[in-house]
């Protein structure tokens, strides 16, 4: 019974973080990357893959450090600094290793890595995991769900913005302004999911 309860909870966290509490459309985080890479579908897809991978790995690392180093030594008050350090170190390491070992992959996805370090979702997820005292599987569910939710947001946005290229948008609203308006309207549609799962 205990076991099935955990899996149900993990699934709930995944769905909640991907759709209901979608980081872009419900919490309005990670907007700089969101607007930066969604001009073209190709960059949106590249960012989605890289982002989800970095998200899951870095939150696992943060979880291990938090659980086995920070909590025993009562260093919880340092979590922001330490999590930023972990994410930055991991991303830099991944960047260097990829450049050396898999240059093809590096040329495809490497440019996104540098952008991810400064993203706020990537630091929000370890902080939420620590704050809610999630276990390993719950942390992975939250990280993967957030990654999938962010990817969904990027891909929807890119498909719409490519269509908007042909639209006769008033001059003062071209580019970023209309993208912000569009994001607001998508967020309005995503409100339909609200109240579905309360964590």
């Amino acid at each position: 019974m205990e076991g099935s309860g955990l899996w149900e909870h993990v699934l709930t966290i995944f769905i909640a973080s991907a759709l209901i509490n979608n980081f872009v459309f419900a919490r309005y985080l990670g907007l700089c990357i969101f607007f930066g890479v969604t001009k073209r579908m190709e960059t949106a897809v590249g960012m989605s893959i890289t982002f989800t991978a970095v998200m899951v790995i870095s939150s696992v690392l943060s979880w291990v450090v938090y659980k086995y180093i920070m909590v025993p030594y009562h260093l919880e008050y340092l979590k922001i600094v330490i999590f930023i350090g972990i994410v930055a170190a991991f991303v830099q390491a991944a960047d260097t290793i990829m450049k050396k070992k898999t240059p093809a992959l590096y040329y495809k996805l490497g440019i996104y890595l540098a952008l991810i370090v400064t993203n706020c979702i990537i630091i929000a997820v370890p902080l939420i995991n620590a704050g809610e005292e999630y276990g390993l599987f719950e942390s992975i569910a939250l990280a993967f769900g957030s990654g999938v939710g962010f990817s969904l947001a990027l891909i929807i946005m890119a498909s719409i913005r490519e269509k908007l290229d042909l639209a006769d948008v008033p001059k003062s609203f071209q580019g970023l302004p209309i993208a912000f308006v569009l994001t607001g309207l998508i967020a309005l549609a995503f409100l339909g999911f609200s109240g579905m799962i309360t964590l």
Binding site: M41, I155, I156, S159, I160, E162, K163, L164, L166, A167, D168, V169, P170, F173, I178, V181, L182, L185, I186, L188, A189, F190, L191, G192, F193, S194, G195, M196
Partner: protein, 343 residues
Amino acid sequence: MEGAVKEQQQAQPQLIVSVGPHMRSSESTATIMWTVSGALMPAALMGVYYFGFRAVAIILVSIVTAILSEALTQMALRKPVTVSDGSAFLTGLLIALNVPSSVPLYIPAVGSFVAIVITKQLFGGLGFNIFNPALIGRAFILISFPKQMTTYYKPVMNVTGMDAVTTATPLGLLKEDGLAALLEVFHTKAELYQHLFVGNRAGSLGETSIAALLLGAFFLLFIKRYITWHIPISFIATVGLLTWLFGGTEGLLSGDAIFHMLSGGLILGAFFMATDYVTGPSVRSAQVIFGICAGALTALIRLKGGYPEGVMFAILLMNCFAPLLDRRVRSRVFGKIAVKELK
């Protein structure tokens, strides 16, 4: 000699070389918009019949605001004013049909303004909007005025619309108090279906009378052929199937599909708003996917969500995905060289 050449030229059939389109029809955007508005008239009249004078006032306010917003924005943007094409009229009418008869008159006006200015004109006007303007307008006022937008009057059936009694919609009753409470109001299931079909129930102005809506839908589908069956039928059938499967309290297959298909704004939304040419996919197979997903989202929100009704959000969410659905049929560009080959 010269005369012979001329004669020969004249004998040849006159071939005109021109660019497409070669098949022309007298139908224009304006004809379609005004016809769809006409097809909504039975539903609007039923709304007036059931909810009285207030319904007329709401319909007028929201149409006038929509037309004024369109004209003023187009003037401000120095574009030709196109209110005579009927699209602003239709948006205003749809907003009126989607609000309860109890709302103060400024609420539909705000809805029309948001629909026309923010959802349509900012994105470049008719044909470029990503979302159905009427639905964004309605979502905006639902979020901004949640109390007023969910206070429903019982049908009064007198001219003044006075002596109105507030009550919950059938879907609201089902969500809050369960099936027993619903049957207490409508006595038997047969009576419930009958009320839902003719429209004698609490609800938004134009969504209650299924009979009137189906009359308009029939006209558009089979007589004018402005819409096809793909989106509405797959939409409604999915809602029916999923609510039958999961909607009951006694396990699988105990849900009441007929009730779910007849209640809420499903018929109005599926035939008149999900079928919007601009905000839905244009390929048939993509339209069926659009309908099925919208139906699934509607059932999900009705059964599990925070709102009793999910048609509006479901269509808006699918509007987000419509460009993605259409992408897979985009024609391939020939003569392109992959980046890899260049290296």
